[in-house]
């Protein structure tokens, strides 16, 4: 469970027909804590509904934050709540900044690649990387949030790739030759990230960075065989049936486990893994972290796993 700061929605405006910008301010403190570009916050929209969103506002203006949210009718409910229920004055709560995606220190060149709503973490990063170049892919200019601001800020360092204009970004060509000091970053739909991973497979470790937005879809998160979870502190054994997530089974058994994205992306529902074999399906743990943690919203066990709860 993350500590949350009471906040409220203070402005709402449409950026595109499907993307809406929400300004939030803290209710009990004069300003939000500092963050670096690329950070996200976990918003509690109402009790039990928490979702991670990149902070798109300037890190030097901590008195309010902005988040841009794509309406996803088939999503898990966070974007629907924000688009349909939120009004100016809605009380919500925000976690402290979560800093998983950040510009590399000491880099001499930053190549940012955004697909659609994946533009959001780059907005705050650009304030810290005046020389960065941004490749922005979207269906059409009218679907591309922040386009006027980015044009004004970046000039020729913004390269747009709109399908409606017949332009498609050739990632293998753009990323063909890694150079010392050059770092590449991608955020967007799974297809873009897969292409980015493939195009940077030959890059030196640590020079290609990506931020997942969409994890496993709601129906797929619970797919897989039945298994058991043993609670280390009590010895209780919880059955996790096929089609049910470990997170849901733990909560049904009275265990308090936080969550936010519920798609294996944000890491909020990680619990210590003390024994047994896990089938990791998340997109957030580093390989070295997988021996000791499990992301309960998507990952499963084989047979029985022992959890440090």
């Amino acid at each position: 469970m993350k500590i949350l700061m009471p906040a409220e929605v203070t402005a709402i405006r449409d950026l595109t027909p499907r993307i809406r910008l929400f300004t939030i301010k803290p209710r009990k403190r004069p300003a939000f804590p500092p963050f670096r570009g690329g950070a996200h916050t976990i918003l509690q929209l109402r009790p039990g509904l928490r979702r991670p969103y990149s902070i798109t506002s300037d890190p030097t203006r901590p008195e309010s934050w902005e988040v841009a949210v794509l309406r996803e009718p088939e999503g898990r409910g966070g974007s629907r709540w924000l688009h349909e229920e939120a009004v100016v004055g809605s009380p919500i709560a925000a976690s402290f900044p979560q800093q998983n995606f950040v510009l590399a220190e000491g880099a001499t060149r930053h190549i940012l690649i955004a697909g659609g709503i994946g533009i959001t973490p780059f907005l705050s990063m650009l304030a810290e990387a005046p020389g960065a170049e941004l490749h922005y892919c979207a269906r059409a200019p009218e679907d591309a949030a922040f386009l006027p601001e980015l044009r004004a800020l970046l000039g020729p360092r913004l390269v747009t790739w709109f399908a409606s204009e017949g332009r498609r970004l050739d990632l293998p060509a753009l990323l063909a030759a890694p150079a010392p000091g050059t770092h590449a970053y991608a955020c967007g739909p799974a297809r873009l990230l897969e292409a980015f991973s493939a195009a940077t497979a030959h890059w030196p470790a640590g020079q290609a960075h990506l931020e997942h937005f969409s994890g496993l879809p709601p129906g797929a998160a619970g797919e897989g065989a039945a298994f058991e979870a043993e609670i280390a502190s009590t010895g209780a054994v919880i059955a996790v049936p096929a089609g049910v997530t470990l997170l849901a089974a733990l909560r049904a058994a009275g265990q308090r486990v936080d969550s936010a994205c519920e798609g294996g992306v944000c890491g909020a529902c990680a619990v210590p893994l003390e024994g047994g074999e896990a089938e990791h399906r998340d997109m957030c743990l580093k390989p070295g972290e997988r021996a000791g943690q499990i992301i309960t919203c998507v990952s499963r066990g084989k047979g029985r796993v022992r959890l440090g709860l």
Partner: protein
């Protein structure tokens, strides 16, 4: 019993896992809690298991100083998630006793137990170092307004 201590801070949180907010004065409501606090409004982590000893929680600043000194684990009064921070008050000896914070009369109900939830909230391994010194859970017997600097003494 000859001791006298001081109230250092007053905190409330409007709901479970919300950041604690420091108050310049707290209104103590007998049988309920501190005005605006999660346990006065049934919004706390343990509000589904109501207990009169959750009306007000206290913790010694000396414990926080010892955690930093002996374990290198910083814990600020605001992070402690207790309502009142004290100096010079033997909280562990006040179970089953009445004592005053300013004009307010409290009854020491039971020792507070640390919770794994707390480690998770702060990301620091505080559970074991806090065993047996996690503070005191109290009932509010006589209400009133308290402020930092108020004297704490046996009743």
């Amino acid at each position: 019993m000859t001791w006298q201590g001081e109230l250092l801070h007053i905190f409330i949180a409007e709901a479970a896992s919300m950041e604690m907010e420091e108050l310049a004065e707290g209104r103590m409501i007998p049988g309920v809690g501190i005005e605006g606090d999660r346990y006065a409004t049934a919004q706390g982590t343990y509000s589904h298991m109501p207990h009169e000893d959750r009306q007000c929680t206290l913790m010694e600043i000396e414990t926080m100083e010892a955690l930093e000194r002996d374990h290198g684990l910083p814990l600020t009064p605001q992070e402690s998630r207790r309502n009142l921070t004290t100096r010079g008050v033997p909280l562990n000896h006040l179970v089953g006793r009445h004592f005053r914070v300013g004009e307010v009369l409290l009854f020491g109900g039971r020792l507070n137990k640390p919770c794994k939830y707390f480690d998770d909230l702060l990301g620091r391994p505080l559970f074991n170092p806090l065993l047996n010194r996690s503070g005191l859970n109290c009932r509010i017997i006589e209400g009133g307004v308290i402020r930092p600097g108020d004297t704490i003494r046996p009743a």
